[in-house]
C-alpha cells in the first residue's frame, strides 16, 4: 500500500522535470544574449549561420577548397557538407522524402541530371533562384544545361558539371593483349561501337586474365545516351513525358550490349558495388565507359597502386553525355538568401574549374571549358592524359537528351534485365520482355 503514493509522486516529479526542461528549451531563444554587433556595416547579416550542402558520389563534388574560400569571405557562414560516399540512388531516395516532407534536406542540395526531372512537379518546394539574381547568370552555362535546370523559366538548379564521354582503358592489360597502348592509336581503333566490339574480340582471343569491359550496364547507358542524343533526343520518355518503350534508340543500344555479352566481353559486375571496386584493384577489366566524372571514381577505387596504368581515349561513336548535376535551394531552408548566394558561388566558372581540378568533373560553363586551366590540364593519374581537351572538346557539341520523371527507376529495370543476361539467368529476348513489363508497371 505504501508504495503507491511514492510512485505517484515520482511520476509527478518526472512530469514536473519534463515541464521544466520543455520550458528551458522554449526559453532558449529569448535568453540568448544579443551579441553586441561591432558596427562593421554588415547590418544584422553577421549572425552566425550554418549552411548544409547535400552532395553524393564516392568523393563528393570536390568543393572543399571552395568552402574554405567562401567561409573566409563570409566569416559568419559555416558550411557543412553531407553525402560524400553516398550513391546517387540512395541519395535521391532520401532527398525525395526530405523534399516531400518539407524537412531534413540541406540548404543547398545537388540534383542529378536523371533525377532533377522528378522535381519539376514539386517546384513549390524549391526556391526560385531568379529571386536572388540568378537570372543574369544564363551565359555562364551551356544552353542545354541551363534549360534542364530552368523548367518553365523557374530557376530550379544551377549547373555544376556535365558528363561528356570518353573511354578509359588499362595500358598494362592492353599491352599484355598485344594491343596498342598509345591513346591516339587506341582512339583510332574504335571510331564506332562495332569496332569496339571487334577490339574486344581480339582482347578475348589474347587470353589475358581479365575481361574487356566492366559491366554491360555501363556501356549500355553510355551508348543509349549517345544514340538518343544523335537521334530521337529522348530515352524512355518522349519530350511530352509519355513512356515510349518502342523508341528504336533503346533497342539499338540494347542489341549492341547483348552482342558484347554474347562475345564474352563483359566481367558482369554490378556497377558501383564492392566487387566492382575490387575489380579496379584486381585489374579484372581493361576498359570502362568513362563520362568525365568517372575519372574521379576510377582514381578513388583503383587507388595509388594503379596510378599511371589507366589512360583515357576517345569514346566510340559520336558525342554523348551521361550524368552531371545541379545545385538547388529547397524552400524549407531558413536562410534562402545565403543559400542562394552559396549555390551561385559554387557554380561560377571559377568554381567549375576548381571542381574539375579536384575531381575531374567537367565544367558546364563555357567560360570554364575554354579556360586554359581546363583546356591544357592533364590528369596525372591517367598517365598525364589531356583530359581537359578530350572531355572538353565534346562538351560544346553535346546534344541534350530528354529524361522523363521516372527515368532512374526504368533505367534500373533495364539494367537488371541486362545483368540477368550476363548471369545467364535469362535469354536476351526474355530479358527484353521482362524489362519492358517492369518499365510499363512503373510508367
Amino acid at each position: 500500500m505504501s508504495v503507491r503514493p511514492i510512485r505517484r509522486s515520482k511520476t509527478l516529479a518526472m512530469l514536473g522535470a519534463t515541464a521544466v526542461l520543455i520550458a528551458a528549451c522554449g526559453g532558449d531563444d529569448d535568453t540568448e544574449p544579443a551579441e553586441p554587433e561591432t558596427e562593421a556595416g554588415d547590418n544584422g547579416d553577421a549572425e552566425p549561420i550554418t549552411l548544409v550542402v547535400d552532395v553524393f558520389g564516392e568523393q563528393g563534388f570536390g568543393y572543399e577548397a571552395l568552402y574554405e574560400e567562401y567561409m573566409e569571405q563570409n566569416p559568419h557562414v559555416t558550411i557543412e557538407e553531407r553525402g560524400a560516399g553516398l550513391g546517387v540512388g540512395d541519395y535521391n531516395d532520401r532527398l525525395v522524402q526530405q523534399i516531400t516532407a518539407g524537412s531534413g534536406a540541406g540548404d543547398v542540395v545537388a540534383l542529378e541530371e536523371g533525377t532533377i526531372v522528378q522535381f519539376y512537379a514539386q517546384l513549390d518546394k524549391f526556391v526560385d533562384l531568379a529571386e536572388y539574381g540568378a537570372g543574369d547568370l544564363q551565359d555562364n552555362f551551356l544552353p542545354w544545361k541551363w534549360e534542364q535546370g530552368t523548367p518553365g523559366g523557374f530557376i530550379l538548379g544551377l549547373g555544376t558539371d556535365v558528363g561528356s564521354m570518353a573511354m578509359c582503358y588499362r595500358r598494362d592489360l592492353f599491352e599484355e593483349a598485344g594491343l596498342p597502348t598509345d591513346r591516339d592509336e587506341v582512339s583510332a581503333m574504335w571510331p564506332t561501337w562495332d569496332e569496339y566490339i571487334d577490339v574486344g574480340g581480339e582482347f578475348v582471343d589474347a587470353d589475358v586474365d581479365a575481361e574487356f569491359l566492366d559491366a554491360a550496364t555501363n556501356v549500355y547507358n553510355t551508348m543509349l545516351m549517345q544514340i538518343a542524343g544523335n537521334n530521337s533526343g529522348y530515352t524512355y520518355y518522349d519530350t511530352e513525358n509519355n513512356l515510349d518503350l518502342d523508341n528504336p534508340d533503346i533497342k539499338a543500344a540494347w542489341d549492341m550490349t547483348i552482342e558484347m555479352i554474347e562475345n564474352d566481353l563483359s566481367a558482369g559486375l554490378n556497377s558501383f558495388s564492392d566487387e566492382w571496386n575490387a575489380g579496379f584493384q584486381g585489374a579484372s577489366f581493361a576498359t570502362i565507359a568513362c563520362p568525365a566524372w568517372m575519372t574521379g571514381v576510377i582514381a578513388g577505387a583503383a587507388g595509388d597502386e594503379a596510378e599511371g596504368l589507366w589512360d583515357v581515349a576517345d569514346a566510340p561513336g559520336d558525342g554523348g553525355n551521361w550524368g552531371g548535376s545541379f545545385l538547388a535551394v529547397p524552400a524549407e531552408t531558413e536562410h534562402p538568401a545565403e543559400a542562394a548566394e552559396l549555390a551561385k558561388f559554387l557554380t561560377t566558372p571559377e568554381a567549375h574549374i576548381e571542381a574539375f581540378e579536384a575531381l575531374g568533373n567537367l565544367p558546364s560553363s563555357p567560360q570554364a571549358l575554354e579556360d586554359d586551366a581546363v583546356l591544357e590540364s592533364t590528369n596525372e593519374y591517367f598517365n598525364d592524359a589531356p583530359t581537359g581537351e578530350i572531355f572538353g572538346s565534346g562538351a560544346f557539341d553535346l546534344k541534350p537528351v530528354h529524361l522523363g520523371p521516372q527515368n532512374n527507376a526504368i533505367r534500373t529495370a533495364f539494367e537488371d534485365a541486362l545483368r540477368s543476361v550476363e548471369q545467364g539467368e535469362r535469354s536476351p529476348d526474355e530479358a527484353w520482355q521482362a524489362a519492358r513489363d517492369a518499365a510499363s508497371g512503373i510508367g
Partner: protein, 323 residues
C-alpha cells in the same frame, strides 16, 4: 497496514484504524480506478501516434494514387488492390519470402535443438560455450549482411575460394534463386540459431533429470532419450520459436537488401530472385514513387501476417489442448 494491526493491542485496534480506514478507501478507490489507466496511457498514446494513425493513413493512401511526382491526388478506390492481385512481381516476392523462411527456419531450428542438447550435457567450460552461441545476436544485422556479402562475393569471396580449393566451380551466389536463398538463409541462421538454442536450453533444463535416469536404467540410448523425452516435452517451446521465426521471416529485409552491393539493391537480384515483400514495398514507394500502390502492398502484407499468426494461434491451441 496489516502488520501494524496485528501487532497493536486488541483494545486499540478497534478504535484508531477506523477513521483512517474511512478516509483511505476513497483515496485508494480513486487510485485504483484511475492509476491503471494512467499507467497504460503512455503506451496507448504512443500506439495511437505511431500505430493507429499510420495504419489509418495507409488505408486512406492505398485508395489514392498519391505520388510525390504529381501535384494532384485522386481517389481510385480499389484499383490498387485489383492491380496488386495481378502483379506477378508481388506474388514473386511473396513466394521468395515464404521460400526463404522455410529454407532458413527448418535447418535453423533443427541445429538449435541439437546445439541445445549438447550444451545441456556436462562439458568443460560450459559457461563459455553457452555464452559463445549467444554472441551473434548482439551483432548488428547490417554488419552481418555486409560480412556475408563479402563472404559470398563472386570474384574474391571466401566461399568461392573454398569451393575452388576442393576443385568445385565458382558459384555466382547472387544469380540463381537457390544459391541466393541459401546464402541469405545462412545469414539468418548464423544470427538466430544461437538465440533459439538458448531458449531450447532453458526449456531442457526444466525437464526433470529423473526422467532421463529412468530411461537410462531401462536401457534407452542417448538418441532415443532425445527424441522420445526431450523433443516431446519441448513442444510448446518449439511452437514458440516457430512463431517468432515466422514473424521475423515475413519481415525479412536487411539481409537480402544488403546482399546486393551497388546499384539496384531493392530489386533483389536481376530477376527479383531474392526480393522479399518488404523490399518490393520499399521499391514501389521509393524508386517508383507510387505511394498509393505501396500502401496497398503494406495492407496486404499486414493481412498476410494476420493470417499466418492466426494459423499459429490455432496450432498452439490444438497442442495445448492435447496436453
Amino acid at each position: 497496514m496489516n502488520l501494524q494491526a496485528s501487532v497493536a493491542p486488541p483494545g486499540q485496534s478497534t478504535g484508531t484504524p477506523r477513521p483512517r480506514r474511512a478516509r483511505r478507501p476513497s483515496w485508494a478507490r480513486l487510485d485504483m480506478k484511475i492509476s491503471p489507466y494512467l499507467y497504460v496511457a503512455p503506451f496507448f498514446i504512443l500506439f495511437a501516434i505511431f500505430g493507429l494513425y499510420p495504419l489509418g493513413y495507409t488505408v486512406w493512401i492505398s485508395m489514392t494514387d498519391t505520388s510525390p511526382l504529381s501535384v494532384d491526388t485522386s481517389f481510385v478506390g480499389t484499383e490498387n488492390f485489383v492491380r496488386l492481385f495481378g502483379d506477378t512481381r508481388f506474388w514473386n516476392s511473396v513466394i521468395n519470402t515464404l521460400g526463404m523462411f522455410v529454407v532458413a527456419t527448418i535447418p535453423q531450428l533443427l541445429m538449435a535443438l541439437i546445439l541445445a542438447n549438447w550444451l545441456n550435457r556436462r562439458l568443460r567450460a560450459i559457461g563459455f560455450f553457452r555464452m559463445a552461441i549467444a554472441i551473434p545476436i548482439v551483432t548488428s544485422t547490417a554488419v552481418v549482411a555486409l560480412v556475408f556479402g563479402m563472404f559470398f562475393a563472386r570474384d574474391y569471396g571466401l566461399a568461392n575460394g573454398v569451393l575452388e580449393l576442393f576443385g568445385f566451380d565458382r558459384i555466382d551466389w547472387r544469380s540463381s534463386t537457390w544459391s541466393s536463398w541459401l546464402a541469405i538463409s545462412s545469414m539468418v541462421d548464423w544470427r538466430w540459431t544461437g538465440y533459439n538454442a538458448l531458449i531450447y536450453l532453458a526449456a531442457m533444463q526444466a525437464i526433470p533429470r529423473d526422467m532421463f535416469e529412468a530411461a537410462e536404467i531401462d536401457g534407452a540410448s542417448r538418441m532415443r532419450q532425445f527424441w522420445q523425452i526431450t523433443v516431446p516435452l519441448l513442444k510448446p517451446t518449439i511452437i514458440f520459436t516457430v512463431i517468432i521465426s515466422t514473424i521475423y521471416g515475413l519481415q525479412l529485409f536487411t539481409e537480402p537488401l544488403m546482399f546486393t552491393s551497388g546499384s539496384g539493391a531493392l530489386s533483389g537480384g536481376t530477376t527479383g530472385q531474392f526480393q522479399t515483400i518488404t523490399m518490393y514495398l520499399v521499391q514501389v514507394m521509393r524508386t517508383y514513387n507510387q505511394w498509393g500502390y505501396a500502401g496497398a502492398i503494406a495492407l496486404v502484407l499486414f493481412l498476410l501476417i494476420v493470417i499466418m499468426s492466426a494459423i499459429n494461434f490455432l496450432l498452439i491451441r490444438r497442442i495445448s489442448s492435447d496436453r
